[in-house]
């Protein structure tokens, strides 16, 4: 264990009433904005950097609408402070097509094909979770997928279309009908 020492802090405190420079790499592009310490990353992205693709739902970590990738990992932007993201890489839904010659990615196309969204409010967060998750688990079982999706609330689709889209894009469409009547969408 390291030795116990007692001395005054040497790092500067970011004052509450001052806006501090926050630099991130947003979807591959270095960006700098300013934030009070209390500013949430979700609000920083939308109001300071103009990246409106990230939606803000419950603001206490339950709904998953604001999910972004922080250094590649899916996290809640509403449970992260902008100042905590300083110097880190953030990927949002805008970056998906931007990194694909401006065309929707295969995952996004599958969402469209399988009606995996209706109002679309939850979609950006779910796509960011999926891009992280499928990178680590390229062929999830439906059970694994539904477990991951339990971190997102979608009140339109019943999740059935989302599950179908992911099964399709991961080459597992065989076990899942393209369109099913009155499927249970329980997650």
């Amino acid at each position: 264990m390291p030795p116990l020492t007692s001395r005054p802090p040497t790092t500067p405190v970011l004052a509450a009433e001052t806006r501090h420079a926050v630099s991130v790499v947003l979807n591959g592009t270095p960006r700098t904005g300013h934030a009070h310490p209390r500013l949430l990353l979700s609000d920083f992205l939308r109001h300071e950097l103009g990246a409106h693709g990230t939606r803000v739902g419950c603001e206490h970590g339950v709904c998953g609408a604001c999910t972004v990738r922080l250094d590649g990992v899916a996290v809640r932007a509403c449970l992260t402070l902008a100042v905590q993201a300083d110097g880190r890489r953030i990927d949002t839904v805008e970056g998906l097509a931007a990194a694909n010659q401006g065309r929707m990615t295969a995952l996004q196309e599958a969402f469209r094909r399988h009606h995996a969204l209706q109002c679309g409010f939850c979609t950006a967060g779910i796509l960011m979770s999926l891009t992280d998750y499928l990178g680590r688990n390229p062929k999830p079982t439906e059970e694994e997928l539904r477990d991951m999706l339990s971190g997102h609330l979608c009140r339109c689709t019943g999740y059935a279309g989302i599950v179908r889209a992911v099964m399709d894009v991961t080459g597992q469409a065989g076990g899942v009908p393209a369109r099913g009547p009155a499927e249970g969408g329980h997650v």
Partner: protein
Amino acid sequence: MKPASFDYLRPATVADALAALAAGGDDARVIAGGQSLMPMLNMRLVQPRLLIDLGRLEELRSLRAEDGWLTVGAAVTQAEVLARPTLAREVPLLAAALPWVGHVQTRNRGTLCGSVAHADPSAETPLCLVASGGEVVLRNAKRRRTVPAADFFLGPLTTVKAADEIVESVRFPLARPGSGHAFREVSMRHGDFAITACAATVDGERASLAVGGVADRPTLRSWPLTAGGLPPDLDDALNAFAWDLGGDDDQHATARYRRDLVRRIGRTVLEEALSCRR
């Protein structure tokens, strides 16, 4: 919902963090993963003047198994512990329970130490720590002390941790050969807070059951094995335990339902732990 104003410190060392915490007194709070604290900040249930961010301190990122303990530093996330290939062998109870902690997206930032410091009575990590006979390592600017998990939790969101201390690490005893472990919980939806969670450990001599979500803190009881099996009067023992836990009615479930879950899931996990001994 937005947090009230606070100063923010990202200290360079743990010593810096502890000095700032000592100077800040009750107006200072530490944050690591923030998955319990940030909702409380957003809802303004807590309004610190100073927030001290431990999240990037390399000193707190230790995750190691040695001398019979798995030690998890304050900045180690639930996802990192869950991804440890040897976890199921080292602390099988934790391997079984961590998938029930929040969701993939919150486990990516949430820490075990943060969950223990937060001390929600229905949280899985404090339950596992109590169930396995773990320890909490507390540290302030002057000293370090180790508290057994059984003595750490005092009630809902209340622990023996002083305002100038941080939870530096939590320590889980490595599973002994011949022991068995099982975990189950009932919640409204997977990832929600548990209505009742049960963690069982059975070794060569005793069967232990820890229950979360019923009493105001995770609570452990154990019984001697009878002829290598569970006690013949286990149903009576579980019934007495369920009543002693003294659960309340709330918006999620009645106290009666919670007692029922202790009797039923309690028996199930004890039987599972007994049968998976190795």
